[in-house]
Symmetry: C2
Subunit: 147 residues, 2 copies
DNA sequence: CTTGTTAATGCACTTCTGTTGCACTAACAT
DNA sequence: ATGTTAGTGCAACAGAAGTGCATTAACAAG
């Protein structure tokens, strides 16, 4: 028998979503998930820190690590030197093999976004090489920044 | 009139090569260039530091920066978190536009190599996006490490 | 060869990002 | 109510990258 307290409407769908991935839906985790959900662009840890200025850096760090380990967030290396994070799509399985969508980094607004519909094409490798994973980042100007 | 001292045979071709790119061929620079030339795999700054243990970190750092600025070395972001560096091919123009070869990172030997013959394929982007540069890193097992 | 200018080097110090240890606290099941 | 497990906050640390400044080397002109 479960005694449930009244849930905030915005969060009502996030809580079971976290539980489904065996992540305890703590207040902080729900807020971080919400933050990632509301932003189209992938976020760096420092971005999350700045947004939740009152929270501890380590908690946010470990929150993201947990999300990543549980497979609901994927890390993006866009070449800027700092890792970015974005929510995985429904049914994506980054943990096992990379979902091979590409990422776009805009040199104007400095934002990185997932192009989930654009998969990395098959690459022919020299003899003896076997591929397990691939990372493709296109740099240029995004739709919002091109006039 | 130039009074030239006797050159070590291995270095005889590097000195003019550096001068051609407006890089003063100091002893350190020649040695770093030689080091990169002798290694197939791209090297991180820490690798160069370890190889030239007696030298100062800053000098090596600025040596690589100079090489990069002058367009004889290109930086590789292989996703390991530390930047790698490799010599550019003859006639490559990384400075202007990336030469679109891909890079391979082996998860066994942890080395990163340029696959200069393997160009990054043309990618279709959504409307409004324009590409200026691309970085593709394939992770897997290299020829030396596969059985 | 001497001198003056410019570039390279070495050392110390700083910043930024990521990571860990540990004590404390909240959550949950029994 | 209680014990176990997991999350949090603080401090400290590690690694890589970058900067300021004084010293030294390279080079060209006289
Ligand atoms: Mn993505
Ligand atoms: Mn390369
Ligand atoms: Zn943009
Ligand atoms: Zn290998």
């Amino acid at each position: 028998m479960k005694t449930k307290t009244i849930e905030k409407p915005q969060l009502s769908n996030i809580e079971p979503l976290l539980q489904k991935s065996n992540i305890r839906p703590t207040a902080m985790r729900i807020l971080v998930y919400k933050f990632l959900l509301e932003n189209e662009a992938a976020k760096a840890l420092i971005d999350i820190e700045n947004h939740f200025a009152k929270s501890d850096r380590t908690t946010l760090y470990r929150t993201i690590k947990t999300f990543e380990d549980k497979g609901i967030v994927h890390q993006i290396d866009d070449g800027t030197g700092t890792a970015k994070y974005a929510l995985c799509e429904e049914g994506c399985n980054c943990e096992i093999e990379t979902d091979l969508h590409l990422h776009f980094h805009c040199k104007i607004c400095d934002e990185t976004i997932c192009l989930t519909d654009h998969k990395i094409p098959q690459i022919n490798l020299p003899n003896g090489f076997s591929a397990e994973n691939a990372n493709l980042v296109i740099k240029g100007i995004c739709d919002k920044c091109s006039c």
